[in-house]
Symmetry: C2
Subunit: 399 residues, 2 copies
Amino acid sequence: MGTVERIEAVADKVAASQQSGNQLVIAVSAMSGETNRLITLAAAIDEQPNLREMDVLVSTGEQVTIALLCIALSKRGIDSRSYTGGQVRILTDSAHGKARIKEIDDHRIRADLDAGLVVVVAGFQGMDEDGNITTLGRGGSDTTAVALAAALKADECQIYTDVDGVYTTDPRVVSDARRLDSITFEEMLEMASQGSKILQIRAVEFAGKYSVPLRVMSSFEEGPGTLITLEDNDQMEKPLVSGIAFNRDEAKLTIRGIPDQPGVAYKVLGAISAANIEIDVIVQNVAKDNSATMTFTVHRNELVRAEMLLKELAVEMGALEVDCDDRIAKVSIVGVGMRSHAGVASQMFEALAKEGINIQLITTSEIKITVVIDERYLELAVRALHSGFGLETEAKQER
Amino acid sequence: MGTVERIEAVADKVAASQQSGNQLVIAVSAMSGETNRLITLAAAIDEQPNLREMDVLVSTGEQVTIALLCIALSKRGIDSRSYTGGQVRILTDSAHGKARIKEIDDHRIRADLDAGLVVVVAGFQGMDEDGNITTLGRGGSDTTAVALAAALKADECQIYTDVDGVYTTDPRVVSDARRLDSITFEEMLEMASQGSKILQIRAVEFAGKYSVPLRVMSSFEEGPGTLITLEDNDQMEKPLVSGIAFNRDEAKLTIRGIPDQPGVAYKVLGAISAANIEIDVIVQNVAKDNSATMTFTVHRNELVRAEMLLKELAVEMGALEVDCDDRIAKVSIVGVGMRSHAGVASQMFEALAKEGINIQLITTSEIKITVVIDERYLELAVRALHSGFGLETEAKQER
């Protein structure tokens, strides 16, 4: 919910959808910049503001939007009613700033829907058992939408975003990237965790858990968007690989010549985790002399801190050296199809080799293969894989 | 609650008051400009926005302040808890935008006070029986404070304002105007309705009705302020006249030569009221030829509209002419002392006559005498009355 103009655009969409016979419950986010404005006010008073009161403060952002959307609907002659999270009520635990939804009382919403009203709910917020206002944490509006859809057993939960769907990869990198008609929850989770920022991971998990059909759509354009469904749907027509995700937010650290002994991995990674640095890809192997080499990636912002820690550890453990590289990129192919098909990895490596791209690290999961490469070759790699797996045309790949 | 700085200043005051052993419940208003900012957002969508949703919207203003004040208290090591009107809960009727408080549930507040917490409540808002957010209308934060004080049987309700108390008259007009230590509710009501804008009339009425001792204090300076009490207190020492109120917001209309017949007053004033124009002073008399002359005052902003209406009416009723004058001012002396003393009116008229000030209209109530004069003599009149009744020195007047 960016601006008043965007609220008016959403009101138009809601009006059209209601006129075609749908019963609608809308969960909204705050207007652009509003949440940050409120956080800045609090920070001017206390850099570490009281968490309960921060929730009271930032929850006003969505409350403003529900009111404005209902005002816009009312102007269009559509009867609607707004609810804060507490009014619904969306019961959460008491973890202020990152509360989790426990239960949704749907009786007021159902009564309103039965009376022909459009219901507008403030996303991102709830109320704990003692009636305190809670928030679900950033991006929580998507989660609210999914939770409401689950509670109401809605036919579909549509998430309106800046883009018109989920693509085989970023269209800014591959010009013939294709919008997917559908993708599974698992694939979406892997795409999201790999840098595709369309949806909040938590909302997708939630939708998967409660089997809520999720559709990613554009707030601005018409179009069917991308349906995120359970694995089973159209499994027959599922291509081997659904999409290519990538990011260049990470840096690589290597510690070499660690005298190999039990507990080495724990010692290294434990120290990094204890410093609250998140670790992504991890690879370890042992050399002929039984010394171990361990490589892992962290967010680039954490590189300096991680390097200092690792150098101290290296001295302590008698390791040979520590190497850093922040000129790397991570590229993943994602697809539930690869679960039942061998040879996908070699197909991936072949496509990269053809372009002379050296693979620095490899990790795999059931439905994803990730490689770390030199950042300079990122776009080349993404394009090679996109065409290598035939993603520009629908369902044409070898099965 | 103007700015973050002002919130910090209030937090300091609260901290000091709590340390001296007081149990505190604070009702707050929105930050300066916030309510108008929200109203402007809504007006950008619909010039006549849905009233229920306007309350959802504007009530966020006070919600922001309660959170920020609690954050500021928390930084000072003071345990506090914020509540929206609905959370308290402050039960109101369903008249959105001008709701009236029906009942306050004080059990959460009492429990918090008993636990040593400072309680911060969003002013200006409540919740109706169906859980809808309501607002009490502009300036309603004072009313919330008084209602809470009444419900909690508080020792005193302190209203923090831009001024350090109630004065015998406006110090910008009379340099030796004196801060009153106390004033009765009735006097305060008369002062308020005559243009002394320190407190909302409704809050004073409410405080009088429930006998809540009210104290007007400065948010910025130290000092005892002015206590607003029941009539009985210190009646012995009450001066004849407590203060001089005035305003120049009004304009005068006169319709002359109305053929006198029953229902004339109703016909004229009814038509003005029906157009939603508020009428203040009204004077009517009958000439020798039995034709009537009626004069009344309206707010200057309404003069053009009232004049048009009155000219139409004059034709309809066969009246002679309609006169307007917007160069007038209204001056009142207020005091419960005059109830039991004759001669106050003549003392007033004498003071004005000495300065050669012509009186255009006179109205009186039990504790107030109001005159309408030429606007040019307003300051002169106020000063003459202030010294005529000896208001610059305490309790020195003739009784």
